[in-house]
């Protein structure tokens, strides 16, 4: 099951890389943060109680909705997600 989930992430990353040369520039950060969110989900399967991971996932989930409606808000979410990581190192 876990292997399957990693495989799904792998497919997502490779198909994203294959498609990005023809996509709008903002889709690059979008695909990377989406992949990060999926990775976060996989980590949460191993550590369901990890509050920092839960919070990071929530930050990404809320912000990625803004890609097509609020670019500034989307880019701010990337900064917020990066800043959140400092709580985890």
């Amino acid at each position: 099951m876990k292997q399957e989930n990693y495989f799904e992430l792998l497919v997502y990353m490779i198909t994203s890389a294959a498609g990005l040369p023809g996509e709008p520039r903002i889709y690059g950060p979008l695909r990377m943060i989406e992949a990060s969110e999926r990775l976060c989900g996989l980590m949460l399967e191993e550590e369901p109680e990890n509050r920092d991971l839960q919070e990071l996932k929530s930050i990404i989930e809320a912000g990625k909705q803004k890609t097509t409606s609020d670019e500034e808000g989307f880019y701010q979410m990337l900064q917020d997600a990066a800043a959140k990581l400092t709580d985890m190192v």
């Binding site: 799904e8 497919v11 997502y12 198909t15 994203s16 294959a18 498609g19 996509e23 889709y27 695909r31 989406e34 909705q65 803004k66 097509t68 409606s69 609020d70």
Partner: protein
Amino acid sequence: MNISEALEKRRSIRSFSSRPVARELLLELAQAGRLAPSASNLQAWHFFFLTDPELVKKVDLFSPGLSGHPPVILAICSDMGYARVHGSPNSERYGCIMDAAMAAENIMLKALDLGLGSCAIKSYNDAAIRKLLKLPEDYRIEILISLGYPEGEPRPRRLRPMEEILHFNAWQEEA
């Protein structure tokens, strides 16, 4: 639902419930699609409704732009062999994709009328989807549309201001 209401209400839906969509509804969507305008009345389009959960899952997997795990995916394809014989070089260049886009809008408006959500995407891996659908060499995938019963609220709508995009008569430089 009248047309103006449907135009206002249609949104790109990126979250779906797992509730299956009845085949009769998909036939209604296909009918809405084939009523769309077609350049030179060519109608080179083919509508592939993917309903097999295994196939839907695989196509979903190879489509980074597809969100919300729809129970049905529609692939609108053009038969370029047919278009070359019955159409013109312009059919291949832009006619078929225009036809597919017009059919897609008809289908998405009809979907709304039937209580379904939809989202049109081009972010899929063409080679992978062709292989999964076992498409003949001459078939071109024009667009994928996710279909299903919506769950949650769509993203906020962002429209460019009317004054930026509206013109009457010839183009004029801003004063």
